[in-house]
Subunit: 213 residues, 2 copies
């Protein structure tokens, strides 16, 4: 339905979505959320499709009517997270200092991880990577957020708040790596620090480094 075809003097024609179709979308959303949680909790290899079906409360065969493979399930969860990241980036005040935008991004990823909502895929699984890299929704979303963050990196290096000695791509990867950093999990397991403390400690080591200033 192309809404631009609606008459100019009327309210935009609401896209007709049947009750049945809404239920399907809602179910797919529930599936992706369950996959997201299980991926964060156990990782791709230890997550089984049976678990997902059990968690959602439908039969496994029904799952396969929505997603044609376990890898597609994982990809859907990654697309969801990318979407959440895009929404978070859009919610940031546009006038803030570029360096503060970058810190906010790193903080958000650490928060997601500590909440157990950051899915982690094994970087060694080449089949899974290939599947993900052929997913247009994932690639597009990843490109968009990388462009936005990349712009902040260049701006922060230009205004002198971010070290110009580190190539922008290295900065980008270093920020992304906060999503799967094992340090927050270790500290949380130690039980000596609150989540907020952990986030501030990791952010400090990331931006200020270990050396004395």
């Amino acid at each position: 339905m192309d809404q631009t075809l609606a008459p100019l003097n009327t309210a935009p024609t609401p896209v007709k979505v049947s009750f049945k179709a809404q239920m399907l979308l809602a179910r797919e959303g529930a599936i992706v959320i369950a996959v997201n949680r299980l991926l964060a909790e156990k990782g791709f290899d230890l997550m089984t499709v049976d678990e997902v079906a059990l968690d959602v409360g439908i039969a496994k065969a029904s799952l396969y009517k929505h997603f044609s493979s376990k890898e597609d399930l994982a990809a859907a969860a990654m697309v969801r997270v990318i979407g959440l990241a895009q929404a978070f980036l859009a919610s940031l005040p546009p006038a803030a200092r570029p360096l503060d935008q970058l810190k906010a991004v790193a903080r958000w990823m650490l928060q997601q991880q500590l909440k157990g909502e950051m899915p982690s895929l094994p970087s060694q699984n080449s089949s899974l990577r290939a599947n993900l890299m052929s997913n247009k929704a994932y690639l597009d979303g990843l490109m968009r957020i990388s462009d936005q963050i990349g712009g902040w990196i260049e701006a922060a290096q230009a205004d002198g708040t971010l070290s110009a000695k580190v190539p922008p791509l290295v900065v980008l990867y270093t920020l992304y790596a906060r999503a799967c950093d094992p340090v927050p999990g270790f500290l949380k397991a130690g039980g000596q620090h609150s989540d907020e403390d952990i986030i501030n400690l990791v952010l400090a080591t990331c931006f200020d480094g270990l050396n004395t200033r």
Copy 2:
């Protein structure tokens, strides 16, 4: 054989190791090296015992005469790496600045990782973790290197070269995390930097941070 029982006026009695026993030890060494390489390359979940047996050139059933489970195989590889780490720590000049010792440790872990010789275990697999934590050789070795590195951390904070604002345990975890940091792998895949460049870039972000000094 307790060598302290040897007569004082003779050379220490060499521990009698039969040719057969030597072959067995050599074979076990070959097994552990193969496991180490496969763990670094594919990770625990994607590594199969069949692969290990094929790589070593013996039957799978023979493998199980040496190691009673796949988890024991992984533990043996970790014990080996801990031993290599101990040997490296022992080779460092004792008079160097504590901060330089810490940098040398981080550099060594990055080197091992880039050479494809740093085994990585999934931190989410609790059964595997429990097995590892019940391994005395592993725990002892880990404790020893942690004590030594921990001493350098405290010394470097005392002499003012390492930030005193970061708790020593956080510093320790941050250093250990370099062993499974995904950033070096990403940069290597990009092909824009040599291994030495990558190591220096990661070390710089780790110790100097992303902010401008």
